[in-house]
């Protein structure tokens, strides 16, 4: 019996290790490949990005997927930083779209969640349920209304067309309400008895309890929007203002070398947030686990 158990655990560990390699592989490959020189990348991957061949460089017949570059070089990063301002510009576009959305969504959602937590009623519960439904709607549904409003407001093809609807996205209201409903009512009631105003209760008692929740929601909202593709394609067709996510897919074959480095730069904010806030993130995901109350 005992032996059997040990064998099972060993097999599970091995399986987990295989899974782990598969899960890490794409990210690790992107990172290591970003340290290759232009000629090495062209030689290895020239075939994939068909018009990469300028007729002069050597392109291998086979595609060599390599882990370790022949010569570690930072030349791709230097090119991005100093010679090719496009990438940094697009990176900035991403920042200027996503950071306002995250901040605005947190502000709007924290007061809204307090409203939904502190007072319950049939109407408000119905409204909250509407948030849940809306939260689950895919872009194919929500982009058409977003487009119409942006058109009416005259903000189509500006950043506001993405930021404003993003600020009122229902996801964070939903998740934060679920967090807040765990705060003991007695805490709020005793503060009210001491004569605290409603705003005071919200700001000094409720919010401090939600710090970790706010952080995990910020991570989730950030990563969702950092990845955005659908909204800019439709609401912000102006190529100069599009975020790096869209731009990376239109990469010119001749620039395939710096594409890896750009991809790495693009994933850095997400990975840093992940390394710093994984525990909060896991908690946030676990809370999103059931749609109802």
């Amino acid at each position: 019996m005992k032996k059997h158990r040990y064998f099972g655990r060993g097999a599970m560990t091995l399986l987990a290790a295989v899974f782990a390699v598969l899960f890490l592989l794409p990210t690790v490959l992107t990172i290591t490949n970003s340290f290759m020189t232009q000629s090495e990348i062209t030689a290895n991957y020239g075939q994939v990005f068909s018009n990469a061949n300028d007729g002069k460089s050597y392109i291998s017949k086979k595609i060599n997927l390599k882990f370790i570059p022949d010569k570690v070089s930072f030349s791709q990063y230097l090119t991005i930083l100093f010679k090719s301002p496009d990438y940094l510009l697009k990176f900035w576009n991403s920042v200027i779209l996503v950071v306002p959305i995250v901040l605005a969504q947190l502000m709007v959602a924290s007061v809204a969640a307090y409203g939904f937590t502190r007072w319950r009623g049939r109407v408000r519960d119905a409204i909250f349920f509407a948030y849940v439904i809306l939260m689950l709607m895919p872009y194919q549904v929500t982009l058409v209304p977003n487009y119409l409003v942006s058109d009416w407001l005259g903000i189509l093809n500006t950043r506001w067309a993405i930021i404003l609807p993003g600020a009122f996205a229902p996801f964070s209201v939903f998740l934060l309400t679920k967090f807040m409903r765990r705060i003991p009512v007695s805490l709020i009631e005793s503060a009210k008895l001491d004569g605290a105003s409603e705003w005071h209760v919200f700001w000094d008692i409720c919010l401090p309890q939600c710090r970790s929740a706010l952080y995990s929601i910020a991570i989730l909202v950030f990563i969702d929007n950092w990845n955005m593709v659908e909204q800019p394609l439709i609401l912000l067709p102006n190529a100069d203002q599009q975020p790096l996510s869209v731009f990376l897919s239109t990469i010119n074959a001749g620039e395939i070398g710096i594409a890896f480095a750009a991809a790495v730069i693009y994933m850095v904010p997400g990975l840093l947030l992940f390394l710093h806030g994984e525990a909060y993130l896991v908690e946030g995901i676990a809370y999103s686990g059931s749609v109802k109350g």
């Binding site: 599970m12 987990a16 899974f19 782990a20 899960f23 890490l24 592989l25 794409p26 490959l29 992107t30 490949n33 994939v48 017949k61 086979k62 595609i63 709007v108 007061v111 409203g115 502190r118 007072w119 109407v123 408000r124 409204i127 948030y131 689950l136 709607m137 895919p138 872009y139 194919q140 549904v141 982009l143 058409v144 209304p145 977003n146 119409l148 409003v149 009122f168 229902p170 409603e198 990563i223 950092w226 990845n227 593709v229 659908e230 996510s245 990376l248 897919s249 395939i256 991809a263 693009y266 994933m267 997400g270 992940f274 994984e278 896991v282 995901i285 676990a286 686990g289 059931s290 749609v291």
Partner: protein
């Protein structure tokens, strides 16, 4: 009389106070989502933006008979049918795997969750290299004597996207399952062990019972996420992918480009109805199963 007044006053006052807090979000939601969606419904029922005459369900009929829409629905349905069961089952297995007291459990969790934080746009290069006709995957398969496959430009294209989808989403689902497994009362498992229940029995008769709400939730989440897979396809293959990868969002994008409000609206309304129907089923099933188990 006075008492009654006080009570209703408090009610109205409560409502106003709660709206002071929830109001901004509620108004924003009305302005950016609900009201325009009403207009979308209206647009789906009229002849055109200039001619506002009522045409009934004609627009819906036009969309349903549109060849591109049919392909898009078919492909999206195939993708969902392939990826959703895999996403649910694999993520549950991963959660159970981590339950088995294996060493370095939290490291494994980190590894499995990490793809979630990596933007798709960042790893499409590797994906293209892996699945090119002369790419690494084919070379690996050639060892077993398989023929070359041009993954993204053949009927195998769906496999590539399903793999990418699973890579990205399994971690999130796994966390949901791990949380649910944590909620199973320990005493129940202990009793089962003392009574000599096999691991299979424990899983199918105890754990799965407690996991069923999560299975349903992960299913609905995966269905919703599978509608979003356009993002991956667009980044990998651009505006005009291989036929087998033409998704609903491609169709919507084309309608946006032509500013065909009528078809756009009709398609959006139909999709919203499908989602609402799916949700209704989810809630019904959850009520059915969840009765004797505390969530």
């Amino acid at each position: 009389m006075k008492k009654h007044w006080e009570k209703s006053n408090r009610r109205v006052g409560d409502f106003l106070q709660s709206m002071c807090f929830s109001g901004p979000s509620f108004l924003g939601m009305l302005l950016f989502y609900v009201i325009p969606f009403g207009v979308v419904v209206y647009y789906s029922l009229i002849a055109g933006t200039l001619d506002h005459s009522f045409v009934g369900l004609q627009n819906y009929k036009n969309v349903l008979e549109n060849g591109a829409f049919k392909i898009a629905v078919h492909n999206t349905a195939v993708f969902s049918a392939l990826s959703v069961p895999l996403a649910v089952i694999l993520s549950m297995l991963m959660a159970l795997m981590l339950e088995c007291r294996i060493p370095a459990k939290s490291q494994f969790r980190t590894f499995f969750l990490s793809p979630m934080m990596v933007p798709i746009a960042s790893i499409i290069l590797v994906w293209q290299v892996l699945f090119h006709a002369n790419g690494a995957v084919n070379e690996f398969l050639a060892v077993f004597g398989a023929d070359k496959i041009d993954w993204l430009k053949s009927d195998y294209c769906m496999v590539v996207i399903v793999l990418l989808f699973l890579w990205k989403n399994l971690g999130y689902n796994m966390i949901l399952f791990m949380a649910a497994l944590n909620n199973i009362p320990k005493t129940l498992i202990e009793v089962a062990e003392v009574e000599g229940a096999s691991a299979w029995y424990q899983f199918f008769h105890i754990k799965l019972r407690y996991l069923s709400p999560t299975v349903l939730f992960v299913t609905i989440l995966s269905i919703i996420n599978s509608f979003k897979v356009f993002r991956e396809i667009y980044l990998l293959t651009g505006d005009y992918p291989y036929d087998g990868l033409y998704m609903l969002q491609h169709f919507m994008n084309n309608m946006f480009r032509n500013l065909d409000y009528q078809k756009l609206s009709a398609a959006a309304v139909m999709l919203a109805l499908v989602i609402v129907a799916l949700l209704a089923i989810l809630f019904a099933v959850e009520n059915w199963f969840g009765k004797d188990v505390e969530g």
